[in-house]
Each structure stands twice: as structure tokens, then as C-alpha cells.
Subunit: 248 residues, 2 copies
């Protein structure tokens, strides 16, 4: 087995005009739906957004970040206990999935499905970009996509044929991610080593300078993912999940 | 691109004696770590359990289901904001990730990483089985693996070389998973059609008979995933996530 794809894959945020057909999307989603799923329940759905006005409105819920605006197709992957619950109800079976475990199970299913789609799509020449903003503005996304009870959007993929090449953005040394038998909490000295290469990158140094910060960690905590933002979006996300019928 | 792998992949619960080396595991995990990750933060860790006694103890937290007992390697994938938070703290940066968005982000990262590992491992001849029980008995798992604050196990993969072939367990018709532009809530008639093939399978009929139920949905609601069980494990899971430092 040649594993080059796995090392060479990149996230794409710019796309060419080449059409992604409905047939291709359906074939790739069908392939992805053979990914593992809890108890073979397939607790997920995907909403395909293609129409220009709808894409624009959906992109706005993702702060109109470049990938969301540029992509010809947006796929919103949802944790979905709606369909399964409907099946139970009309089978005189009493469903009990409107709780944290139900939500967690469906979320795991949806993300596994989304990642399998990401892989099979990239292997077939498409470029993808996860929009991590899905959980921030879930209420607006749900309104646009008319999501019913027990359906919660968890990740969105911007999809299209890539325009051009993308640079490698690097990864942490793999050894720091792997713990043998027991978790090893990194010492301060080890933390320095783990993040050294990341901090030394040209793009990292540029981020630090452009944002007037002392170091890269401060770019994350003070600019990209601040406590105020994380806490404010936590309140929205919690309220939304419960309003969709999952008690946390 | 030949997409046969994606359709032909199967979950394996029985494994041969052939050794999975540390080198192979590390290579596959390194390949998987190039999967997408939020803001390139890599908010995950994996704990490798190989020692016989440790495997037995860990399998017990998964109700000693066959895959957990049979596999030579168990990989526990964790949402991990511990490493990133340590880096922030020693960089004079104030981390704000001890909340629901922090937990959700790290969980998404961990599952994407786990699924990418599942794919690259299967493509290299290994067999895998997700243990969906990870979120049920997370407190016991965390104790065995000595997981510190801001580290939460989300999925476990049992891994080894497969022993023998596995039958296709079928999937729902792909069209019911795909919604064009807006979510379409299935009508009662559509629900019947969506689940017809699943209910008609020999193994489904056997489950119904063996459990003395009227239909397959009741096997799920009354035997496999009951309300009582989902609610009781929801309380454990909620308490555990908060005890690890993520306020829900």
C-alpha cells in the first residue's frame, strides 16, 4: 500500500470552475456511508447547498470565510436521530435518544461519515475544507436548512475542484500524540520541544508580527479563539442543542 | 480512482496472531495525523494499550465485547486540550477552552483523527472495530489510562490483522441520507421504504426472534439501546466531562 495520499493531502480553500456533478456527489456520499456507524444505525444526514443565493446565505453563517464563499458546493453534516426516532415510533418501539448519549452517538456517526467523505472526495481529485464555524452559528444554519427536531449540524465541508497547489502547514511531532499504556503529561521542557518547529515557521512568525503579539500561543488565545468567543458560542451551542430536543 | 475499498471495507471483531508492530502503528498514526484539524491545533491524543493485563482491564470497561478482548491492540482516542493549554500557559497566553465549544472542538478533532487512522489502517491490511462503549464508561477508562485534566476519551479502536472474512451488514438507501438545499423530513410511507431492506435481512429477523420482539426497531429500543441505559450513561458522561475540566 502506498500511503502517500495521507501525507500529501491538503486543505483547499480556492476552487476552479469545474463542475461537481450531482451524480459524483451521490456516488462519493454512498461510498462514505460504508464507514463505521454505531450499531449500523447511520445517525446522520447531509444537506447539499448548491443554489447561489442559498450558498451566499449559508456562507454568511460561516463569517463568509474564503472557502465558504468560493466553493461550488457546501455540505452540512448533521447528527440525526430524527429519522431513526420516526422509525421507532411507527414500529411501536419507544425511542430514548433525546439525551447527551444520544447526541454524542449521532455526532460521532456524523463526523466519521464526514471524514470518510473528505477522504474519498480528495482521493477522487476534489478539494475540501472543514468549516469549524458550524457549531458557532448552528441556530442560523438550522433555520436556513430547515432542520427539524433531533437534527444538529456538526461540521460543514466546502467542496470543489481545487484551484492550484497548497503549501504544507506542518504537524506536531507524532510522538507527542502517542501515549504508551498510560497518558504522559508533557513536562514544560517537552512542551517547548513539541511546539518549537511550529513556532519557527515563517507563517507563524508572520501571524505573530501582524497581530502585534509576543508569540504564537497568544495569537490563538487573544485573536483566533478567545475565551470570550468560546464562552459566548458555548452558550449559543448549548441552548441550540437543547432546543433541537437533546437534553444535555 | 478505484473506490472499491470504500464499499468493500468491513468492521472486524476477530483477529489473527500476526503481530502489529510499534513501528507500523506509529507510521499509520503519523499518516492519520495529516487529517484535517481545527486551526491546525491537533487537539487529540491516542493511548496505545498492548500489555495483556492492561488490555483485559480496559476490555472490561467495554463490557468485554468480543473485539475488545480479541484485539492485540486497543487505541483510545481522546479529545485533548491539555497539551495546547500547557503550551498557552507557559507562553504567557490565557487559554479559554474549558467550556462546551472547547470540548466539542477537541472531540471533532479526535474523531476525524480516529477515522483517518481507521481508513489508513484498513488500507494497509489491518482490521478495526470501533468500541462505542467509550463514552459509557469514560470514568473507568480515564482511571486506567491516567488521563489528566482536559483529556476525554471519545472513541476506541480495536486493531489487529483480521481473522477471516466478514459479511456485508448493509446500509440504508443513500438517497434518504442526502437532502437537497433543505432538510426533507421523511413521511411515514417513506420511513417504511427506507427501513424495508434492513428489516428484511436474515440477521435482522433472527435478532427479532431471538429477543422475542415484534420488530427490529424494538430490538434497538428495548434491548440494545434502551432509554434507561441512555439516560443513566448520559448522567455519567456529563459528570465525567465536567470533572475533566470542561464546563458543559
Amino acid at each position: 500500500m502506498d500511503n502517500r495520499y495521507f501525507y500529501d493531502r491538503r486543505t483547499h480553500r480556492a476552487f476552479s470552475d469545474r463542475e461537481v456533478t450531482d451524480k459524483m456527489l451521490e456516488d462519493l456520499l454512498e461510498a462514505a456511508a460504508h464507514a463505521p456507524t454505531t450499531g449500523n444505525m447511520q445517525l446522520y444526514s447531509v444537506i447539499v447547498t448548491r443554489e447561489a443565493e442559498a450558498r451566499k446565505a449559508l456562507a454568511a453563517t460561516h463569517f463568509s470565510q474564503p472557502a465558504s464563499v468560493n466553493a461550488p458546493v457546501l455540505l452540512t453534516f448533521c447528527a440525526d436521530f430524527n429519522r431513526f426516532t420516526a422509525w421507532c415510533r411507527q414500529s411501536a418501539a419507544a425511542p430514548g435518544y433525546d439525551n447527551l448519549q444520544g447526541f454524542t452517538t449521532a455526532m460521532l456517526d456524523a463526523v466519521i461519515f464526514a471524514q470518510q467523505f473528505n477522504t474519498v472526495a480528495e482521493m477522487n481529485g476534489l478539494g475540501c475544507c472543514y468549516l469549524g464555524t458550524t457549531t458557532y452559528n448552528a441556530p442560523d444554519i438550522a433555520r436556513l436548512l430547515e432542520l427539524p427536531q433531533l437534527v444538529v449540524p456538526v461540521v460543514t465541508l466546502a467542496v470543489g475542484y481545487p484551484a492550484g497547489e497548497v503549501e504544507d502547514c506542518g504537524r506536531l511531532p507524532v510522538k507527542c500524540l502517542i501515549h504508551r499504556e498510560r497518558y504522559h503529561e508533557a513536562t514544560p521542557e517537552e512542551i517547548v520541544v513539541i511546539y518549537a518547529e511550529k513556532e519557527a515557521r515563517d507563517d507563524s512568525r508572520r501571524f505573530v508580527e501582524e497581530n502585534g503579539k509576543e508569540n504564537l500561543a497568544q495569537v490563538f488565545t487573544d485573536v483566533r479563539y478567545t475565551r470570550q468567543m468560546m464562552e459566548s458560542f458555548s452558550a449559543v451551542w448549548r441552548g441550540f442543542i437543547e432546543s433541537q430536543g437533546f437534553k444535555l
